[in-house]
Symmetry: C2
Subunit: 352 residues, 2 copies
DNA sequence: CTGAAAGCGCTTACAG
DNA sequence: CTGAAAGCGCTTACAG
């Protein structure tokens, strides 16, 4: 018996394991990393000792010499939308099993220290990969730092396609089109629209989808009933007030996201309108809020869970098979199916 | 001129800086860490070279030999509540300036791998500190792993006080009391209550505050109008339906959080009740949703930003002055002021 | 299939 | 105030 003391006050290292197992540290390293060329017998013996000693490899040491830090960052912006948390949950679940940990970094795209912050994150920590969500999916400063460091990255619901990196998204334009068509099919012809903020993924595509749908019915977008919002509840309050104060107010309003749709409902309630008879309202994203307001919102479901899964899967694929240096990181671009969720906030327009 | 090439394809190391500055690596290290005993002249010269070379210290190397990983983890649970994101924002902002990065780990307290997961996080990454939020603030398994590793930690809004670690919170019991008093002062005498889930911080204290308030008015809590919810919107739907179907329904309902209060509103709307005349509703937390539903909720504001700030400040204090080993980590327990936000979901009961 | 040596980029003692 | 040496716990070549 040459393993003297199983219990010790300091954390066991690879050397302790090697000694206790009667093997070299290189062999222990091989077992840890599931490499080939270890006899089944040796592997088993080492694994048993690792378990007994409760050995846990030091990530810093692995990172210093090796090329992996086992750290992946989620870079997002505020307002990143209420699904930031759900995206993170999805990523965590997937990365966990592979031994990766998730770091988070919030980036204000207006800030002048964006480059510095991302650079520190990427370079000091030797990140293995990065996930980008709105509104930094299309931030050139952030992306160029990541590309310079030659780290694989995935953009979740980006606005524009790009040569580098990977992406996962739904067809936002088609989704906004479907949503508007739903209102047109109900007989609405005067349909207001509240846009999202510039620079934010989705803003442009959702607006385009709305315009396309109108044109399919031979209508032209009317600037009088198109408002500029900011994706927040508050931003849509004055927009709605203006729309409902028009001589000829819209009979339906498409808000570019659910939070703004909630604001439309509040203003309508406040004016004593009967919903959805006097005003139909639709949102976008299907966040939890969509079901919690009254009437619950007709909206497009953003398949957050699936998007996060797809993003994680793409990265895990890349990370677990990078063997040849010089080989360009493989890319993937996935477009997931979307669907309109019809609830009680939409109905045919009431007769006047 | 002994700095040959400023530009290089590989990242500059401390050795490159030392060479270019004509100093030893130890001196560069001193400058990096803002240690004393460096002449102003040398310090400045080194700093200039660091900037020119865009030198960024490798955290893995710092962590391997030193005792700091510059990594702090936020351990939370799902449902961690919609303010998980806000807490993280607050922590990020504060830690950033100190050079710390934030890792996140979601823990399902029902899972049997909790210990393993937290242990891996803490031990493999050599975490510098941990922040715990609901519902893991009172999880003994998690806390004992952290304490064994001798890492400072802060619990945000814990349910029970503890000997070890630090905590920040509001007086939830007093807050629930205030909220209920507000209804009592309006003249309500039959006030329903929807509890949060067991094991979740806040559940017990909020209920106690409600009971206390009733007793101050000489009333006893009536089990018939006390429901068991789960802090989710959906969980409160059936609770509300039962309460409103009673022969003598409550004239007001206290929901243990805002999401459940939103569910109360929806059921009431669905039954055609006039709000707040037929039913007053209060929530707890003042999450964004509270202002987005109709009528907007009277609730208690959870000062998330301040709580996150306080938590971060406590940790930064501990981390930046740990000099003497053996000295126990200093602790802090802070109770922040709370206040009731009165909106339009509460009013005196209508005459029957 | 297995192992001894060197080294990743820093920090910690320890000397001057 | 400054620096040369050793070492943190692993992995990467390189030999057997």
């Amino acid at each position: 018996m040459h393993r003297c003391s199983i219990v010790s006050d300091r954390k066991p290292t690879i050397i302790d394991v090697a000694r206790a197992a009667g093997a070299s540290i290189k062999t222990v390293s091989r077992v840890m990393n599931n490499e080939r060329y270890v006899s089944a017998e040796t592997r088993e013996r080492v694994q048993r000792v690792m378990a007994e000693l409760q050995f846990q490899p030091n990530k810093s040491a692995q990172s210093l010499k090796g090329d992996k830090s086992y750290l992946i960052a989620h870079v997002y912006g505020d307002p990143g939308g209420p699904y930031t948390g759900q995206i993170q949950m999805g990523l965590l679940t997937r990365f966990r099993d592979q031994g990766y940990h998730l770091l988070i970094e919030e980036i204000d795209y207006r800030g002048d220290d964006v480059e510095d912050r991302v650079s520190k994150l990427v370079n000091q920590l030797n990140l293995d990969a990065v996930v980008l969500t709105a509104p930094v999916t299309d931030n050139d400063t952030v992306i160029s730092v990541i590309e310079r460091a030659n780290i694989p990255y995935v953009r979740v619901t980006p606005q524009h396609e790009r040569d580098g990196g990977s992406s996962v998204r739904i067809d936002e334009r088609a989704a906004a089109n479907d949503l508007t068509m739903h209102l047109l099919a109900f007989g609405h012809r005067r349909i207001g629209f509240i846009k999202g903020p510039e620079h934010h993924a989705g803003t442009r595509l959702r607006y385009s989808g709305y315009c396309d749908a109108l044109r399919e019915y031979g209508l032209e977008p009317d600037p009088e009933i198109i408002e500029q919002g900011g994706f927040t509840y508050r931003s849509a309050l004055p927009c709605t007030r203006r729309l409902l104060s028009l001589a000829e107010p819209p009979t339906a309003i498409v808000a570019s996201n659910d939070e703004m749709a909630a604001a439309v409902l509040s203003v309508a309630h406040d004016r004593g309108l009967s919903l959805p008879g006097d005003l139909s309202v639709v949102g976008f994203d299907d966040i939890e809020l969509a079901e919690m307001v009254w009437p619950p919102l007709t909206t497009v479901k953003q398949p957050i869970q699936e998007l996060a899964d797809a993003a994680a899967e793409i990265l895990v694929n890349i990370l677990t098979r990078r063997k040849q240096p010089g080989e360009p990181a493989p890319q993937a671009h996935r477009v997931l199916p979307h669907h309109v969720v019809i609830r009680r906030s939409t109905a045919p327009p009431a007769r006047r």
